[in-house]
Point group: C2
Chain length 271, copies 2
């Protein structure tokens, strides 16, 4: 359990304070904080309470959404990402995860260019704050309006285009990349290039009845989670394994019971 | 309109006979017949009536679904595909489209091997019947239980593994491949290798509320349809452009009105 992290969004019905109370009871050692869970709270206070709870802040979710039709809207996105970096710094979060964005009808190539430019604009602030950035490739079913970065290869290409700054890496989420025939080689490449910044877990259910909020608990679906996790570890990753599940079904049950199930599922994958 | 083809599944509420009556009124010149539309009908009679209606049979949908846990089930799939080939022959359909299949929990690599073996087993019958086969790469969101072939590149790899028989090619459906960064080069490759067997049209809506039956009419979504179509034509494709839309929304309206909309949308894309 020493590498188990849970995202606040996974137990969305709980407040951040309830998460800090409930997570450690299951042996969870890491927490990834979503920005909406921070609302109305002082980051420095959250940082202290998280440490008091024995939880390590693994990352802040999420920045990104760089593409937009107008330069003014793209600048607004950059400003919001700068805010995320300063929030992460205040929280003691070493990483901001980027859901990079896309605009329906704008070419994916143009969106990826805007994403690259957007990340470039964040680099000085990220460096100064000691905060890393992780490009999370999203499943191609989100290419319309959530991310024009849909494979590990594309994330690597953006890192390359930026000149491989050590701040910028990749968040590997099994849900988004499990189908990719190039996955093993792109994970190995991420290891070699120091880009393995985060690793997210959930599962793909059959049938999946909602494109956003029908993700499965590990073991509920068809993703070869342990196999991918072993590839990530073999590439040198030693960080937390983050359980990030969006699920109307799981959000609808008692969240203490859900956390028990998460701990059991995690245990089954890694036993 | 001389290249406009409509799939019988697109107007699912209509019988095959109603399709034969309704399609030509909008200038549609081709029809792709789904096997369920054939049920209880003699293929030779359908062939005659289709010709009488002035429609060309573009393809028969669909074969495939090769992967299975047991050899007996894989043989059952091959037998069903042999039946599809004989139905296509009797219909005068030059092509059977393959939705290749996948088994949740079985590795995609193993499924692709079983797909390759399954297609290999069909080659003598396809050759004898003068019927071609088209591998249709399916969107990665169908990798769990519908197809382990999710990119044009993977379809090419299967064609290559089979020794590039002229019978086996690829069905390019904009819905499944529009997001693929390699799409232009893989379309060009399909042209060079004589594998451009079919071209399917619909659109990707934002939001998409159902993984299966929420496809859009051309123009309703974000796919650069004309751009992809031009790439396909530039690669040497001169066949029909097939409108294949699964949509609870569109199936719910008067199908004569829907066909009018299809003709107008097609016209807008190509005007």
């Amino acid at each position: 359990m020493s590498r188990l992290c849970v995202h606040t969004i996974t137990t969305k019905p709980l407040t951040l304070e309830q998460c800090l109370d409930a997570f450690p009871k299951r042996g969870v050692t890491g927490i990834t904080i979503w920005r909406q869970a921070l609302e109305g709270r002082d980051p420095a206070t959250v940082r202290r309470r998280t440490a008091d709870a024995g939880l390590e802040v693994v990352s802040l979710c999420r920045g990104g959404f760089f593409p937009a039709h107008s330069p003014a809207d793209r600048q607004k996105a950059i400003d919001d990402n700068l805010l995320a970096i300063s929030q992460a710094h205040a929280l003691g979060a070493p990483l901001v995860v980027l859901v990079c964005g896309a605009v329906p009808g704008q070419s994916l190539t143009e969106s990826r260019k805007q994403i690259t430019d957007g990340i470039a604009a964040l680099l000085p602030a990220a460096r100064a704050a000691g905060v890393k950035l992780a490009i999370e490739p999203l499943h191609p079913m989100y290419a319309d309006d959530r991310s024009a970065v849909n494979t590990m290869r594309q994330a690597h290409e953006i890192c390359d285009a930026l000149g491989s700054p050590e701040e910028v890496g990749i968040a590997v989420d099994v849900y988004h990349v499990w189908w990719d025939p190039e996955l093993p080689e792109q994970i190995a490449r991420a290891g070699r290039t120091g880009r393995l910044h985060a690793f997210h877990l959930c599962d793909w259910k059959t049938p999946t009845v909602d494109l956003l909020n029908d993700r499965g608990l590990m073991g509920e679906g068809c993703i070869p989670i342990r196999e991918i996790s072993d590839q990530v570890d073999a590439a040198g990753f030693t960080g937390h394994r983050e359980v990030e599940i969006f699920s109307d079904k799981w959000w609808g049950i008692d969240q203490e019971e859900f956390l028990d199930r998460i701990a059991r599922s995690y245990d089954l994958v890694y036993s």
